[in-house]
């Protein structure tokens, strides 16, 4: 049985349909990448999974349970955490308080503030500073740490590389193996396709709210991906 299984998931913003029936799976311990152009529906899909966007049809099963109708805080309690696009740290909370906020649900597991500092040593000297006073890369580390503090079984990462220098992106993705080591499955949304192909076991390409291509990175050709990405 898959850890996550969505079945013809649809989502709407008012009258506008953003997702036209997404069917995908994530296995336990797997890293899955979602790629695709701006507006293809990747972020909306993550929001629908986490309960921020009410979905308008289809089903979501997580660890054998139907979670499609649950509230955002109930979904987090089941073990799905999101690193949101643009970090979205709480500006009036310090770095440490941002991390503690991530542990609000008190899900049991290996992650503590100390473990997060061990994973991202650059954060510890800034523990008492406002989260938003840090550099972009450090903020991204806080956002990842905050999500890890809920000890998720599935970690969703939306555009980790957005606005960051390549060397910083490399540092951030270097943390992925340590996260997976705890048995956490990961789903990354990336516009940086080569980065996504490098870290993932399987890829889904989104195009205009549909899955246009799926497979293992090694089995896909550049031409196939370009075709699925742009639809030309």
């Amino acid at each position: 049985m898959s850890l996550l299984h969505t079945d013809h998931l649809q989502a709407f913003y008012g009258d506008f349909q953003a997702l036209y029936g997404i069917t995908l799976t994530v296995e336990e311990g797997e890293t899955v990448a979602l790629i695709g152009a701006n507006g293809a529906g990747k972020s909306t899909f993550l929001k629908a999974l986490t309960g921020l966007v009410k979905h308008g049809g289809g089903a979501v099963h997580f660890a054998g349970e139907s979670i499609g109708r649950l509230q955002a805080h109930q979904i987090l309690a089941r073990g799905i955490a999101l690193v949101p696009e643009g970090r979205r740290l709480f500006p009036s909370l310090s770095v440490e308080e941002n991390l503690l906020m991530g542990g609000y649900a008190k899900r049991p597991g290996p992650w503590t503030v100390k473990r997060v500092y061990a994973l991202f040593p650059a954060l510890e000297p800034h523990a008492k500073r406002p989260g938003t006073a840090l550099s972009g890369g450090q903020q991204q580390m806080v956002a990842i740490g905050r999500a890890l503090m809920s000890n998720p079984r599935l970690l969703l990462c939306d555009e980790l590389s957005l606005g960051l220098a390549p060397i910083i992106i490399r540092d951030i993705y270097a943390a992925l193996p340590a996260i997976k080591q705890e048995g956490t499955s990961v789903m990354v949304v990336e516009q940086d396709t080569s980065q996504a192909l490098k870290v993932s076991d399987r890829v889904y390409c989104f195009q205009e709210g549909r899955v246009s291509l799926t497979g293992r990175p090694a089995d896909l050709t550049r031409a196939q991906i370009a075709q699925a990405y742009f639809g030309v």
Binding site: L76, L82, F90, Y104, A105
Partner: protein
């Protein structure tokens, strides 16, 4: 000379009551962005609950307060959870209109139940006795208690905000109501608790109010105005600023009344307008724009 010192001291202590009134208003705005137009009416409601408990059940003023506080807290939770939460969103007008409705409902229920008479809660010699400093300077027990309560309550609130998970959730919800849900926070529940806390605090203010002076069922809006002025003078989101705002307002009113009885209220309003003109964000602004 001692006369003036007494007047200023009186004003400072009155500031404690204004700060108590204002703290709940500030909390509801800070966490939920709800501008509670009915805040003064909730204070009056709490005062009348205390009067009713005192007259009908024979409870002492302190016992009435201890009953009124949890009652108001529960009312706050229920109103937020089941009424105001439904109206939250990007539009601050919708919750504001609902609290306007609360205001009208509370005033009319009180008029129905208690007639339009002004009432007060008789607290015996406690209301009038005072503490003498060196013969000429005196501070009433009641005003002193109000100020002390204000300091204790604001300090407690400060501790909740900076040290507890609930306080962090309040601040996080204020920063980003969407992302806070991804932390596993049921924001509807947290907002309910915040409004419950706000009304528990306004209950303290309301009971002190009816001990200090007579209050009519329709007096709520006047007290709302004083609370607003305290918050704005102090700066939104700053608890100690709110206390200072209350003190400034209280001293301005007391000095005005000393100069010519009856113009104290006006001098208070003018002081508020002056601060608004010079420092539109108040003296210690903290809340960030969203």
């Amino acid at each position: 000379m001692a006369d003036w010192i007494n007047t200023i001291l009186q004003g400072i202590l009155t500031g404690g009551l204004y700060a108590l009134l204002a703290a709940g208003l500030s909390l509801a705005f800070g966490v939920m962005r709800v501008i509670n137009i009915a805040h003064g009416d909730f204070a009056v409601l709490a005062g009348f609950i205390a009067i009713a408990l005192n007259q009908w059940l024979g409870l002492t003023p302190v016992e009435s307060l201890l009953v009124a506080m949890p009652l108001m807290a529960a009312l706050g939770y229920v109103l937020q959870r089941f009424v105001l939460n439904r109206a939250l969103g990007n539009d601050v007008m919708r919750p504001l209109m609902i609290t306007f409705g609360f205001s009208i409902i509370i005033q009319n229920l009180l008029l129905q139940g208690f007639s339009a008479d002004s009432r007060s809660l008789y607290a015996g010699s406690f209301s009038t006795a005072s503490f003498q400093f060196g013969g000429q300077i005196a501070a009433g027990y009641l005003p002193l208690t109000m100020m002390l309560s204000a300091v204790v309550i604001l300090a407690g609130l400060q501790q909740i905000f900076s040290r507890t998970m609930l306080g962090r959730a309040f601040r996080a919800a204020s920063d980003d109501p969407e992302i806070v849900r991804l932390m596993g926070v049921d924001n509807r529940h947290v907002y309910g608790i915040a409004m419950g806390l706000a009304l528990a605090m306004v209950a303290v203010a309301g009971v002190f109010l009816v001990m200090q002076t007579t209050v009519a069922p329709t007096d709520g809006p006047v007290h709302l105005l004083y609370a607003f002025e305290s918050v704005i003078i102090g700066g939104l989101g700053s608890l100690w600023g709110t206390l200072l705002g209350g003190v400034i307002l209280g001293v301005a009113q007391a000095l005005g009344d000393k100069f010519d009885p009856g113009i104290g209220t006006l001098v208070g309003h003018l002081t508020f307008l002056f601060v608004l003109a010079v420092k539109p964000n108040g003296l210690f602004p903290k809340t960030k724009d969203r």
